[in-house]
Structures are given as C-alpha cells and as structure tokens.
C-alpha cells in the first residue's frame, strides 16, 4: 500500500510541531524517521502502562543536554535512566560549581598544558575537577559511614549520592527526589569510578557489580510495557535492551545514533536485530534515526511535548 510523498513546506514562525508535521507528511528518508520517532516518544510518555527507559551514551551532559534529562526526570516522563559513568561525573561536576566550556581550539598538547580536557569541541577545566574530587570524597565518606563494607549496588550508590547534592538542576538529585532509579553498569570506568578507587585506598566501599540486576529485573516485570529511548549506543544501549530479555523484549524503542551497522557492533546495530534476541518483542514499534543526538533529541522531544500537552 503505497503512499504519496508530500513535499514539505517551511515558513516563518513555525513551531517545532509544525515542522515535524511537515516531516510526517513527507514520511521518507531522515525527516520521515524523525517524525515517527517524535510521535512514538509522545505515545510512550502518554501511555500509563509503558515504563520509559532512557539510555544515555556519549557526552550528553557536557553537550548541553543536562536540563533536558533533568526535566524528563522532574516531570516523571521517564521511569528509569541507564547511563555511562561519564554523564554522571559531568552532572556532578556542574553540581559542584564547575562548568563545561567552548571555544578553546584543537591543539591537544597545548590544552593539556593548560589543564583543559577536550571532548570534541567541549572542554573541561582541571580546576573544576579538583573541586569535584574534594566534594565527592566528602560524599563517599558519608555513604561509607552509612553502609560500611557491605556491598552496595551501583543504583543504591547513585541514589545515595543524589541525596547529598544541593544543586536543584542535578540529574542525580532530581532522580533521588523523584525515585527514578539510575543504572550505570560501567560506572567504574569514569572519573567518579577513579575517585572511588582512590577513596578505597584507605577505605572499603564495595560496589557489587551484579547488585542492580534484581531491581532492574523487577522494574521490567512490574510494568505492563517498556519503551526504550536510546541516545547513543554503547553499554547503556545493550544493558537497556538486555534487561528486557527475560520478559521477551521491549514493546517499543527509539534509537538515535551516528554509528553504522556494518561492523556488527551493537552501537550501530539496527533495532530490528534486537528482535532475534528477544530484546525487542516481535511486532514491537522500533524507530531509528541516524544523526547527532544534540540536534535530534531536542527536536524529537519538543515535538512530543506538544503532542502530549
């Protein structure tokens, strides 16, 4: 059953939703997929039976998306966050008064000498990390006083950190306040993990690597349906999908990535592949858009918010 490709119209004073409606009328190539993703996101958020799992890989907090994630938590538009350790580290960096910067060039040896770390065209300052190190050690101490050497799950560890954060824009604080669990199976591979290891030179705060899986599994089974929003690939994408394996897979998913399928790596794999593994249900609603998350997700989300308001 073929449909006609309608030629899009662009005009002054358009709202994002009007633009996405034009994409929808066209229905093909990237624009068509973006419109489908935006509509699916609106459905996921609106549907009370669907738990929305948000997966974050890549430098999303350094890349200007911290408030967007924070608002999704604050408004309870997502039910669960799975992220790299880096995004947590950078959330804390800002909570402790640090910032991310732009405009510092691409001479990495010079940046090194100036105490500047580079992530694409985003930069951090070592002075901000020094503050981070001091403040996070204080928080580790408070948690250690509470749990001692009893192994603690990464989810509970992050929930605890969130309880000690004052910054009202913090992803960790808002997740704590709103009881949105954060999973970060690769947490240890981050500056936060490094600091924990340093803390443990004289302490014994043990993160139990498998400790989260009971909680994650329970959430999967407690919810009628799961919708996954996969920003970037990596371990967060895999963990998000794999956590649904025992229940036959997610019911819907949106993926935004620039990685490609041909290498066989999961990061660029088509969502359909997840069906073969029962990580996405046969018949599930799956939409992939190829492109830059910092452009595409705000666009998709702005359109979806209009649809659900």
């Amino acid at each position: 059953m073929s449909m006609k490709v309608n030629q899009m119209k662009v005009k002054e004073k358009m709202t994002v939703q009007q633009l996405i409606d034009e994409f929808s009328l066209s229905g093909v190539l990237g624009a068509g997929k973006l419109a489908k993703a935006s509509n699916l996101l609106a459905e996921m958020i609106k549907d009370e039976e669907t738990a929305v799992f948000l997966s974050l890989a890549g430098p999303l907090v350094p890349g200007g998306m911290r408030n967007i994630i924070a608002d999704l938590i604050k408004n309870k538009q997502i039910d669960l966050l799975i992220t790299s350790g880096a995004n947590i580290t950078h959330d804390l960096l800002e909570s402790f008064g640090g910032n991310h910067y732009s405009g510092l060039g691409f001479d990495d040896e010079k940046l090194n000498h100036g105490g500047i770390g580079r992530i694409g065209d985003v930069y951090t300052k070592s002075t901000d990390f020094e503050v981070f190190e001091k403040k996070i050690a204080i928080i580790f101490n408070k948690i250690y006083e509470k749990v001692g050497s009893n192994p603690i799950s990464i989810k509970d560890f992050l929930h605890n950190i969130g309880s000690f954060i004052e910054d009202k824009n913090s992803i960790l604080k808002l997740a704590n306040q709103n009881n949105i669990p954060i999973f970060a199976p690769g947490l240890i591979d981050s500056m936060l993990g490094l600091q924990l290891w340093m803390f443990n030179q004289e302490n014994n705060l043990i993160l139990d690597a498998t400790g989260d899986m009971d909680d994650l599994s329970n959430i999967v089974f407690e919810n009628e349906k799961v919708g996954a929003v996969l920003l970037g690939g990596g371990l967060p994408k895999h963990y998000t999908l794999a956590s649904n394996l025992l229940k036959g897979g997610v019911d819907s998913a949106i993926q935004i990535t620039m990685d490609r399928a041909e290498t066989g790596s999961l990061s660029g794999a088509p969502l359909e592949e997840a069906k073969s593994w029962s990580k996405a249900k046969c018949g599930s609603n799956l939409v992939s858009v190829v492109g830059d998350v910092t452009i595409l997700f705000p666009l998709i989300l702005a359109g979806a918010l209009d649809k659900i308001s």
Copy 2:
C-alpha cells in the same frame, strides 16, 4: 577566550527559532554547529551584496524538499542553483503529474517486477516515467525547433525547458520566471540525459559541456560576495566552489553532509580544505553540519526565515 556551555531547555509550544536559540546557547557539538549554520544562512539571505548559490546533491526532490527549493527561488532568497540531473528529472516527473511514493518495502527484485524504482525508502513508478518520457520529448522538440543544431549551454537548455512547464510548483518553471539560473554540469547522467540521447537518435540537439562557464563566471564576478549553501556533496558541491576559484573563493558557506573526510573525497571534505585551493576565501565564514539534509535543512531554514522576517 572560553565560553560557558549553557544547558539547553526544551518545552511545549516552542518555535523552531526558540529551539535554535537553545542550540546557540549551548554552542557545542552538532547543536552548536546547526545554530551557527542557521544564523549564517539568515545573514547570507539578508545581505544584499551576497549572491546565494544553492547546491543540491542526493535525492532532495524525491525526499520531500521540492517546495522548499521552489520557495527559495520564488522568494528570490537564492540567486543560483547548481544541481544533479536527477533532481531536475524528479522535478519534471512531478510537473508532468507523477509522484514519489513511500511504504513499498525493500525487496528490490519484487520492486523491479512491479515497475518500481527505489531510492532509499522513496519509490517511483515506471508509469510516471512513461508520461515523463512522452512529455519531455515534446519539449525537446520545441527547443530543437528553436535552436536547431547550434550547441546550447546546459543552463540555457534548462531555462528553455522551464518555459514550457505549466506546474506552478516546478523548480524549473519558477527558476525560469524569476531568472534564477540553474547549472547542472553532470546533467547528462540522469533520466533526462538519457531521454535527450534517445531524442538525438533522430535529431541533433547539442549540449555544449563547457557552455555554462562564461555565464557562471560572470555571475561570480558581478556579485560583491558569494555565499554557498551546499546540500550534499558530489559534483554540485565541487562545481559551486570551483566556480569561485578565479575570484579567490566564496565568502561564506554552509555544508550539510553525512559523508566523511577520511577518504579524501570532496563530498565529505571539511570546508576549510577549500581555502587551500582558493575556493573559499581565507577568513571566510564556513559552517559544516553532519547529518541528514531532509531533517537539517528545513530546520536551519525555518530558523533563518524567522531571523530575516
């Protein structure tokens, strides 16, 4: 001089311009580049000294962007079009009553048997091409009656075709009416080129391959400044930049492409490379955004239209 990355905000009822302003406040990664491109496009269009050259590669007319290009011509927001032959063919296909379609699947042998041609997830029907063949032959005849065997430049050939089109949404017709020249140095490599060859089995309508360069060069020299908007790469990108070589290069350029730089191919080359060749001026304002043209250009343009209104 470092700047702070501001965390973006997304909310209901946003206009495209508000979203791009958020991208601008962040200023980094894809979002930052997109905002710069949108602002630069607004500047190019507003500046009366700048002639805007629009280059089209890839299936933009089949991909829903015909009206967008047509409106840029109608509103004289561009001064010159450089395109693949395919986009012209597909403009004519729609002018003659044909359409582009979606939703026909990916079994190419089955599509072949059904007379369907596939371009990604866009489709054409052979019945529409049959109409195209008949109607374009009539137009060739009219042009041949007019010019005979005197070599004609591709630009003049396309201008002539435009004069015989009735469809008021046609890129070719609007370009004719508004005196926007269309250049298509690889025209012959298209269904339009194929039909011309067939027509010439019994006629002798000669396209002079170098015939356009005087006109193109004159336009370059007549204008104080040139701004290039490069949608996709390929021959149109190269021709657009190379046409400015004799005057030291374009003054500004925007490029949207998914191709990558590492192969050395021009399609994915960074715009900066054009400076070494004097195809972009040293000191010119150059912005590249990586991604899908059907998403990014409508977004960039909608933002720019707000800025200039």
Copy 3:
C-alpha cells in the same frame, strides 16, 4: 543453510591470497565481504564474456592508485573506465612532471599562501599546475587543429589527449594505446574543464555532452555480460550503472565506499537498489565492502590477481 564461522589465523610470511582465504573461511562482517569481492573480481577478469567497467570517484590518482589503474588498462583486465574529471587532471599533472605530496599539515590558510592545495592528507603544488596549464593548452591546440568547431564527444576528446602524452605510466596514454575508452560525463567540473573553458575564450572547441552515449551503449550491447567495479560513488557510479539500464542491468558488481545508505544518495546506496531500476540484473552477483578504497582495492586486486594467474 547455515555455515560455521571459522576462526581466522594470521601468521608470518602470509601472502595476500592466504589472508583473503582466511577472510573467506570466516565469511562474515567486513572480512567475509572483502573475500567475496576479491573472488568476484577474479571471476569478472577471467570470464571472457564479461566486459569489466571500472568506475573511479574520489582522489584515487592523488591517493597513490595511478599505477594500479594503469596496470589494469595495460593488462587489458578492464574494458572501460568511467571517472571524475579530477582523476584525469591528476593523471595529466603527473604526466607533465608534477607530483602529489604528503606531510604538509592542515593549516589551510597557510597552505593557500604557500600555493599548496590539500586533498585530505595529499597535497598539490601550484607550480605543478602552472606546468599543467601550459602543456594542456598545447594539446588542446593540437586537438582543435584536428577537429575545429565540430562537437566532439568527451570520450574522443580524452582519447585524443592520450595520443599526445609521452609518459608511459599515464592512464590516458595507456588507454589510448590499448583502446580502452574513458568516459567522464562530469569532466567539465575539473581543472581540465576549467582550462578548456579558458582555451575557449579565444577558440571554439566544443564538447558534446551527450556525445558519448552512443558509444557507451554500443559497448554495453556488444558484450555478453558486464561486471562493474565501483570505487567510490558519485556520478561515475551512477553513469556506470545507468549505462546498463537499457540491457536490463549489470551482471555483477563490486562496490567499495565509505558513504552510507540512510541519506538515500546513490553514493552510499546498496547495490541491490540498482535491481529495482534494472541497472543491475535480478539475480546478479553484487558485493559491497564498506571502507577506504586505497586500502581495500589493492588488497582485493592482489588477491584476485593470484586467483587468475
């Protein structure tokens, strides 16, 4: 019918053919596709009924592949060449004593001031182009003396240039000597095209844009089968495939590209898409490998040469 993935072995003193045999035993991901491409190339070259069309896009001559192309012509392992104008220009540049260079950095404004043009990490010198301009003008003159203002096809134009080249490694000279036709539908979009336009400020050497299509079509119909070897995408890829449209498509094809499919552009399109258009036969043998042509084609070819020796 599933097959087992054999784990590859790598050892000292391997021949390229042994490495490709390991790829073949594995049979999956990039390695599997590369082995299939190498085996298919051997078949195409060996099969006397198959005419091999080689399509060149991207900076292959600047990128060190000039001898490889020249040898394929000299050994009559290909029957026809379709190329961008740039590869012809760079072949001539070397024929006239110029070179391509490496190691000159990435500061494009500085390169510009030093008269250096950049193509990725390959460089040209303006002094070499000055020699090119003088010598090609002499050749244009000789051709103009011969053909005058009678429109000449691009194929014949290039054949004529080849007859005036002395460098025995020249692609153009070898093609002339071995009667391998060269097609370059976008020739005009190159430094060679620019020089022709300059020559025509005082002369009238007319390239007939559609002039090649009779010859190309005849070659397609004269050969029992056509095998296409598509290095890079662009106009050469399209022209190569489209030239086979009237006979129902190529019988086999190999494509090496880094472009991706999602934009719908032909450069990154899967070869299977060509079946829908009758540019590749239903049932044809099509192999795509994603990667850098300068690595993959020498590898594929070295393996194929062993198979046919």
Copy 4:
C-alpha cells in the same frame, strides 16, 4: 618537509608485507595510515620496555578473530586484555562446543522463532547458549566453593574461569596459562553477567566493581612504557586509556574504528584528544585507521609479524 606520494604497485603472489610496503610508499589516505599502524604495532611488540594493552569492542570473537587474539596471548605479544563481556561470553560459547554461524538471512522475527540470535551477518543458536548456561553454572559453583561471599575482582573472576576451561583455543584458558590479565569493567552487561545474576538467586558470589583498579594501576606503573591497541571503541577503549592517566598517558596507540568524531563520543574520538586528558602522552605516537576491524587488524598484524620475525 614534503614527501612525494609514490604510486603503489600491485602484482601476483604478493606477501602482505609487500602490500603494506606499497601502502607505506604512498603514505597517504587510508593506505598510508594502515602502513603506519602496522609498523607501530611491530615496534610495540618488539620493544621489551613496552607493555601492549589490547582493547576489544564489537563482535570480534563472533566475527572470526578468536584465534588471532588467542595467538597474541599464547605468543605473549600482548601483556593485557581489556574487553567487553560479550567477547568473553562468545569465547566461552565456543569453548563449550558451540559455534558462530553465517548465511541465515535478515528476517529477525523468523530468526527469533528459530532460536537464532543475529549480530550483523553472524548468528548464534539458542541450543549453544543452553549448553553455555549449564557449563558456566558448574564453573561458577567451583569458584563459589573457593571464594565464597568474599568480593572478588572481575580480573580474578575471569582468571578463575580460565582455569576450568579445557578448550586449548580459548582466550580465557590461554590468558590463565600465560598470566595475561583480562579486564572487563562492563562484564555484567553480557550473557555471562546475566548467568551470574541467575546463579546469585541462590548464591552470593560478589564481583567487586572497583576491585581491578589496583592491579591495573600496578601494571601501568610497573612498565616503562605502554602501547595501546584499540580495536573498536566503547568502554574498553576508555578504560584502557584512562588506566594510564595517573602515569601521564600511553606512549603509543593504534585505533581502528568506524565511528566518527563529530558526535563527541569517545568511540570515534581522535586519539589526539587523549593527550588533553593525559591519557596519551604529549609526544606519543598515535595512529588511527578508519575501517572494519575484521579486515584491517588481520592485515596490520600479518604485516607486523613479518617485521618482528
């Protein structure tokens, strides 16, 4: 100091080393980078002061590279392995008699019904995973008998598993025998992790997420120099580089990836970026090649083995 690009020669009966020497003579684009990577790998392996860290992301064991990795361990050509949990799972799958398969098509719902999991064009069978589940549970039991509820590091956990494997081609067994430590900070996100969680429904085998960092840090400091070989990106790439942070970064690194830099994600980040973070030393020797690991690494390694023999 510019160098001439030498045009490559390809002929019959070439050895891989001869082909790479041609790449080296050209010195540009992908071929030039591949030759540099191969030469650098030979240097890393030969230099007794350099510890070679091999990082694995993506489906390398499923993709036919198990023996290649196993041989590097057996020949003590690497000193340390950092990998995703998936590559360990798939090594075990083969150790327990399972296989990887090809040729099963791309209909993921049909594959699901047949108990087939898809990774690009590689496939696994659920029957093989059933054997895996039984046999790994037996091994978990043996380890649990030994360590009880005392938290164990992931490195020690994997070393223990290796001690119970009989398959002489097993990466885990060979690593155990040769005392090559394996780090897998995201281990839990794999089928092996899932089985451990299931085992822990009735047991309490605790993996200490930060437990490896002492050992890893010691290895970094014990060695004069570190050379990193990064196959794919992801968490293994980050962990490999970050583990060298406290000593000022790696001394040399090779990266093979298809991911791109523009998103800011580490997987596609240029190695130079690591200098800003002191994850690679200022002045370190860094070579990136863009492409498919299953093609490029065997090629690079075969060339390097010739150089060091």
